[in-house]
């Protein structure tokens, strides 16, 4: 079947999609967007996290046909243009929150959503928001740091509370 939906602001079409195929497979194998990773295909690891109509979901658990006419935003769509990373991405780089990088795309989408929703999240809120994303390398401390950093910067640029994390 043919599936048509918006990906990162662009209308895209995928042909010969098998009816049982996941959105993740279509993104990676048919639309040339390998940012979202396939690690478990069962919703456990979060490395395939994308926004579906503005809500973070595991793309491995969305049937491709369910994305028809909807809006998908992947990790490729977080940065503004080719050379300006999103502040969340920058913070991950600076804090050393990336080792092998396999979990990073999913974590970026989840963290991006958290910061957009809550502004200045507490550590408990960060842990809760990232509970569906597994990382086998970092031990999560640097990831926590990156999210705190990104949130603090965002608060600053928005003229919000000047308090910066530890």
């Amino acid at each position: 079947m043919r599936v048509t939906f918006t990906v990162n602001g662009e209308r895209r079409e995928a042909d010969d999609v098998w009816e049982g195929e996941s959105l993740l497979y279509v993104l990676r194998e048919r639309l040339g967007l390998p940012g979202s990773k396939n690690a478990c295909e069962q919703g456990e690891c979060g490395s395939c996290t994308v926004y579906l109509d503005g809500v973070p979901v595991c793309s491995c658990l969305v049937a491709a046909g369910q994305a028809q006419d909807r809006e998908v935003r992947t990790v490729e769509g977080l940065a503004e243009g080719e050379d300006r990373l999103d502040p969340v991405q920058e913070a991950f780089v600076e804090a050393g929150a990336v080792q092998c990088g396999f979990c990073t795309p999913g974590l970026l989408v989840a963290a991006h959503d958290l910061i957009a929703r809550t502004g200045q999240p507490s550590d408990a809120e960060i842990r809760e928001a990232l509970a569906g994303n597994l990382c086998r390398c970092t031990g999560y401390e640097k990831i926590m740091e990156a999210v705190r950093l990104a949130a603090a910067r965002r608060a600053e640029t928005r003229g919000g509370s000047p308090e910066v994390g530890p």
Binding site: E19, L61, A63
Partner: protein
Amino acid sequence: MDFLRPGSWAEALEAKAALPDAVPIAGGTDVMVEINFDHRRPPALLDLNRVAELAEWSERDGRVRLGAGVPYARIIAELGDRLPGLAMASRTVGSPQIRNRGTVGGNLGAASPAGDSHPVLLATDADVEVASTRGVRMVPAVEFYRGVKRNALEPDELVAAVHLDVARGPQQFAKVGTRNAMVIAVCAFGLALHPDRGRVGTGIGSAAPTPRRATEAEEFLAAELADTGLWESRGPLAESVRRRFGELVARAASPIDDVRATAAYRRHALSVLARRTLGWVWDQYREGGWSACA
């Protein structure tokens, strides 16, 4: 395989009637796992995401009609005050990503003994609204679970909604697992006090072939509260009552040994969950503005 995309509830029911083997897919958090791992190759998937009514809830005469397709995240955000027990259970489901997609309709469709909404649906005397082109029927939750991963749906039927009273007493849900997120229950327990009716509602998860009530425990506690005038006096609850309640809940279970836990552990953990949640609801009842007219 076919991919069916009904745009309305009527179309969905017609599609299911025409092709009863079509597998409905809502959040996909159960269905897609089975398809990704080749455990299931249905002749067709019936996508329910386009049926707008399924993702709505409404309240009338003190009862909430919760569309089968409202995801857990919205139950938590929008219904925590009206349906505290279900919201609590929803908070323990999977991860944020899973709660953004997973639905109570899907939980009922899967009818796993470990489904987290079930103990609360049992404890709150919820009804499942089931529909087909032949008509609509209401199935009490207690009659919905028919065996391991089997439910009361006929091949042409879909779950339209669940109906639950707006809480008129405190409710609790507790679950044992290996960590705080992404955990399938080792065992779970839902408890609801219904002071307006002098009733106690319970639901046990993951400790029997189906979710089930602990009827003896319910009756024991309701009688105890009535006989000692505790519904009115709101006095403290004796430790012996709590312990007995825990024992009766554990006795109602028929757990098995499996990779997650032994039967003996499940029974023990259930008695602890029951005793604890009873302590919590009773404290809430004593402090809260719930009215008793038992």
